[in-house]
């Protein structure tokens, strides 16, 4: 019995298969996750709406018309025999006669633009600070923690309102202000996950091999905290979209005549008792967009959570 079993990895019995690759497992989990799929599909539709707005929208979202003011949506014709509701303006018109459906479709552009741009800006600020603090610790960490505490103690809505009001409200100002206000969660989460990843032996192994610090951060740590980054990014994107809507609703966000959903809600406020659908429809759009982004984030967290591995 002097077979070379000692250094052998052990015999594999015929039926014994290797576990599937992480990639295959991930694909299987993504397609098996219903709410994640729902989020992806709805978000996809929203993106389609935003990018294809000029093609899909039946009317010019800015075209006003005195003749077609405050037309109700089509279901008013079905349920209440309202003769003013027509197929030409399926979701009715606002108080200056602009087609509501077209404005809602173009509104997806504003929300998504604000969401993505803010998320990128705040993500770059927050992730840089968080990863640096988590990796280097010590004084760097002290400074970053101080910045986070300072940022957290400033009331976001109030500061955003004040700055936008004082510096003039425009899309660019809103993006900049939100971008500089919403980085805290990125920093907090990235700091803690980097700290965790950093303490793992494979990082020590990379150090012992002689890898440079930038290589370790970019190639060893970042890929392993990417899932957390995606989750935070979705949360902050949703947050930014909601905040823009709130600012615009208070009249201190993007300015008319841009078809922002928040602005549409603000403009419809005085009609809310007589034309509640003017309030309901933009709200539903906002809700669906934010919901789909949140579901995407939750889904990513679920399918990449460590307890789901293996």
């Amino acid at each position: 019995m002097s077979t070379s079993t000692v250094i052998g990895p052990g015999r594999l019995s015929p039926g014994q298969m290797l576990a599937p690759t992480p990639g295959a497992l991930l694909r299987r989990r993504v397609f098996g996750h219903r709410s994640l799929m729902f989020g992806i599909i709805v978000l996809g539709l929203m993106l389609l709406m935003a990018f294809g707005a000029w093609f899909i929208a039946p009317h010019d979202p800015y075209a006003q018309s005195l003749a077609t003011r405050r037309m109700p949506p089509i279901w008013h014709a079905w349920f209440w025999d309202d003769p003013k509701a027509t197929w030409d303006h399926v979701l009715g018109t606002d108080k200056v006669g602009r087609d509501y459906l077209s404005r809602l479709i173009y509104g997806a552009r504003i929300s998504l633009l604000i969401g993505v741009a803010t998320m990128l800006l705040s993500g770059i600020i927050g992730t840089t600070l968080g990863v640096l603090a988590g990796y280097f610790g010590g004084r760097v960490d002290l400074v970053v923690t101080f910045l986070i505490t300072t940022r957290l103690s400033m009331p976001v809505v109030l500061v955003a309102l004040a700055v936008v009001a004082l510096y003039g409200s425009s899309l660019e100002v809103v993006i900049l202000v939100l971008g500089f206000l919403l980085w805290d969660r990125f920093a907090v989460v990235m700091r803690s996950v980097t700290m965790q990843a950093r303490s793992l032996d494979y990082v020590t192994a990379a150090q012992a091999i002689g890898c440079s610090t930038s290589y370790i951060v970019v190639r060893e740590i970042l890929p392993n905290i990417l899932n957390s980054l995606v989750v935070v990014a979705t949360v902050e994107m949703a947050n930014a979209i909601l905040l823009e809507a709130a600012l615009s609703f208070l009249g201190l966000g993007v300015q008319p005549p841009l078809p922002s959903w928040g602005l549409m809600l603000s403009e419809a406020k005085e009609d809310m008792f007589f034309s509640p659908w003017m309030i309901t429809l933009p709200g539903i759009c906002l809700f669906m967009l934010v919901l789909s982004i949140n579901l995407l984030g939750d889904g990513v967290r679920d399918v990449t959570a460590p307890e789901n591995r293996n």
Binding site: T3, V6, G8, G10
Partner: protein, 335 residues
Amino acid sequence: MSAILEVENLRVEIPVATGTLVPVRGISFSVQRGETLCIVGESGCGKSLTSLSIMNLLPKRAKRTADRLRLGGADLQTMDERTMSDIRGDRMAMIFQEPMTSLNPAYTVGNQLEEAFLRHRKASRREARERAVFLLEKVGISAAASRLGQYPHQLSGGLRQRVMIAMALMCEPELIIADEPTTALDVTIQAQILHLLASLQRELQMGVMLITHDLGIVARVADRVAVMYAGEIVETGTVHEVFSRPLHPYTQGLLRCIPVPGKTRRGAHLGSIPGVVPALFGDPTQCNFANRCEHAVPACTAGPVPLTGLGEGRGYRCVLPVETCIANQARPVAA
């Protein structure tokens, strides 16, 4: 001798997405008063689930069945959770592997000790306190009274495990189940804790069921041994028989794997068991060890292998006759 714990054909099933896992596959054993039974096996062999299923503390998804599961004559299988919880901590108590996490960080040591006593005995807080002090002294903790006000995080690992032992003894149980009680501890502390457990067991004439992966511990504390592999008991017997004349190829392999100071030659190759444990789906259809066994013959894969009893608690689960097994043991280590 009267058996405190009788277990016959115990099975644990866990339904998972791809089928039903059976991590414990029909095992039988008993623990007598004043005796230590060691269940030994490697990770994933089902030894911890066995202990939890006796306490009825299995994870929710897991299901337990048995032909017989009795504690001192009381049938544990027909008991509802309420009656079962009356027995837990009173007639049988458990000591866990991780003394660092097994005590609630939010309450004092005294509170957690007294709680066990107050739950099962009609006693005043003062009596519970006296009992706690008495037992802390018994497990070798100095200044016991002052320790009652301390929180678990203020104690070292060894002290916490002593507190866990004291907690298990609060109601003088007939049976103590210790699941890897020293794995998380340093070697010197391990020896102290095992020494303590052994002397307490002798003094109080308890039955002890000790679960471990460490053959050294088994050899030193066990009266009888059950070797588990892939959810089955593959060999049982008194500690002397199992260590001096191991019959099952797995037991033989395990004993060859460990270096023994003064016995194994320095730098010489140790024995090894190549291969991996099979997946534990469904019931065994052949000898579970066949794919790793160097003595495997065609009969091994023909059907499930029963445990062959040799009388007086001695048994082994192998198709080969006893004589062949003994001859195999005598062979030099494969290298």
